[in-house]
Amino acid sequence: MQLLGWVTAAAFAPPKAALEQDLLAGTLQAALDEMAKTYGLAPPKLPKTDLRALQIAHTSLFVSNPAGLPCPPYVGMALDERLFGLGFERLMALYRLAGLEVSPDWRDLPDHLAAVGEAIALLGEKPELARTLALEYLYPWLKRYAPVLQEADPTGFYSSIAVFLSKVLEEVNGETRAAQLP
């Protein structure tokens, strides 16, 4: 779950030098390969895309787009169809419970995908809480927006990661349900 968190944080944060480094060093691809192995899935092959193209795609998919923003990157949008709804409030309560605070440098909302991903990663020692975050907050977003990304992502980078993460969480969800059966 920790790896899934880091991949989410790395992939969906505004693309900067850190992502470029991850891509050049192959660490993001390696993380995806490892997750694929763990869950018995085919690993996605990340497209070769330069940082500039990723920045343009990220902006048009997640930040601002004159044709309408296809994928608002906030889990609350998938849960509530709006910002600051009940799902957002619950997420904040979970953060508080987990002792998580938003860093002052983070100039975005705390239910941004990247922040939720990082929260999942930081809660490596609290796997149940991390699973709750992943299944009840991240997964609904991926289910809703991964198909949209498949249509709208000009690079293929975001869509391939979103589709893959969605499949991983489908597996995790299946395992969790199976474990809950009497």
Binding site: V63, A67, L97, G99, L109
Partner: protein, 765 residues
Amino acid sequence: MKLERRSFLKLSAAAVGAVSVGGAATLVSRAKAAPWYTQEVRQVFSICENCFWRCGIKASVVGNRVYKVEGYKENPKSRGMLCPRGQGAPAQTYDPDRLKKPLIRVEGSERGAGQYREATWEEALDYIAKKMLSLKEQYGPESIAFFGHGTGDGWFVDFLPAAWGSPNAAKPSVSLCTAPREVAAQYTFGRAIGGHEPIDWPNTRYIVLIGHHIGEDTHNTQLQDWSQARKNGAKLVVVDPRFSTAAAKADRWLPIKPGTDTALLLAWMHVLIAENLYDKAYVQKYTVGFEQLAAHVKPYTPEWAEKETEIPAQVIREVAREMARHKPKAVLPPTRHTVWYGNDTQRMRALYILNALLGNYGREGGFYIAMPPYLEKYPTPPLPLEPNAGGCSGPAKAESEPEGYKPRADKGKFLAKSTAIQELIEPMITGKPYPIQGLFAYGINLFHAIPNVPRTKEALSKLDLYVAIDVLPQEHVMWADVILPEATYLERYDDLVAVAHKTPFIELRMPAHEPLWDTKPGWWIAKELGKRLGLEQFFPWKDIEEYLDTRLQSVGLDLETMKQMGTMVQNGKPWLTDWEKENTLPFGTLSGKIELYSEALAKAGFDPLPVYEPPEAAPEGFYRLLYGRSPVHTFARTQNNPVLMEMEPSNSVWLNAEEAQRLGFKAGDYAYLVNQDGVREGPVRVKATQRIRKDAVYITHGFGHKAKGMSLANGRGASDSYLQTRYTLDPISGGAGLRNNYVKLEKAPAPRLKSVVQILKERRA
């Protein structure tokens, strides 16, 4: 394999070594949040931004959320009440469509194609400054124009351009709204009317509204006072081609033929003078030019006016006599939006002269004399230019340019000293009288404010630099080279608002919480840009709190005290008697009196007394396009606000019921509106009604957005602005007369849009 660590979140010390929380997490994830009002609620004073009445408000805040706003009694603009727009305004701050981060247009992409990349503020401001300095080098500082609208616009249309050295700074609230009224007031009274129209409503006994849509252009305390006037028994006459909300409350509705108002005003003057009904003592004491006026209006009999206005002569006479019976407590209030047919300054002069004949200026039940509050500027070195964008207070004083600086690019096209925003578009295309190569647009919707949208788009496509500072991704914003996302009114300080009023006052806007996303307040943007442009000396203050505190010291206050008050009220001098006690008069005209006959206009080559010009006739098969306001929306600013859109999700086109029948439209059908130049708008719902004349149609302004990034606003209704491809320039005020546009109706299918109510239901589910 190790991924680079991000740091958006951090674990607090309390969490280290915490026990397993798995079960609790599940409970929390399904729990309902506690209601906001059971939590620690902060009260913060601010100023509403959902219209330009600028009501003082008190916001109830929990954490980073404003849950409620209300007026407060001590503020003369709200007096403890707030309109729907004000109540719904906080929703804008939490709009998912907001601009969230600075954006730079992708190099090589076409302007208007909307390809952007995120940028840091440093990068965005450096980019702008570099371009500006290069344009200055090549063309001079005047090659950059600054347009703005809103409480925060002072930084971008007054201060920054004056410091930078460009005279081309303008607001739509001047030449697309109040210019004729303000310029006429200057030539008649030598005083501004101003943003808080100075009518002594509660004491008036007889009100005549001409094209004044009170109740639709809902200004909070104005509506409160107007209601009080009616409660106190004031009679109401409404002159309007449309049976407006105000007309529905009136004792008389005069359905005037559009564009003939000056004829009616001249006939009323004729009756007052011919029947000796005017206030002789007042006219003798406070006015000049009565003899010329009497001779001038002699031919304008009610019978003559009936032919022009289609209002019966007998009714014209009766209303004139009723006005006279109630003088000086009879008043014809000036409306705001006065750019109608291009001869509007003369019409407004006629309105003021008629008021003067009733002896009501500076007297109870008429106009009070509004005084601005005392408040010093922040001490800076003298700015190279005098701020000249104007605003609701009329033309600024400065006319001559300091040596080395060019005049405004619109100078010479009209008489007034204020800037006409629509006249600055042409130089962007033609380079004449000199090139305008750069543009700042702060808070103004270029496509929903300035007529002739195709021309504006052409101008934008030719610029070397276009910067938009805004809150939402409106159509024109997504054409910019650099988009700077501003913090909303609930997230920022602005400069102090000083309101000329019966009791002059100063009000404070302070942030209710930190700006969301990577947005910044206008003052910060202006200061940071100033620094990069080598204008540091004009921004000597450390931050806005120091700036505000210094200004407040000049009235014996400080910022901390003002934060607890919200509003500071001063004493005014509302009546002529207050001035006479000091052996003076308030009139700033050349004669020192109310000028019925204007020597200044005569010298400038204009009619010194108002002359009626019949309106241009509509082309065969077309209706005159009239437009107005909605009580729950403001301009084109609020159509993405879920609270307000739930109340009014679209406009409709008012069409006379008989005309509708003739054309085969039933109520609820949809139509396209096609103007005289072939521009098509809609589909828009048809409202077949007896409440409008047969020669005109009417829509409310602000709908018909084409910004797909504004998910609620996009595609709903029709835009009057897009249909206004023509305007008639008022040669005195520079106002753009917009009512010489015509439309015909074509049948249209109902739009395939999810209803706003359905969208909001889904959001709440």
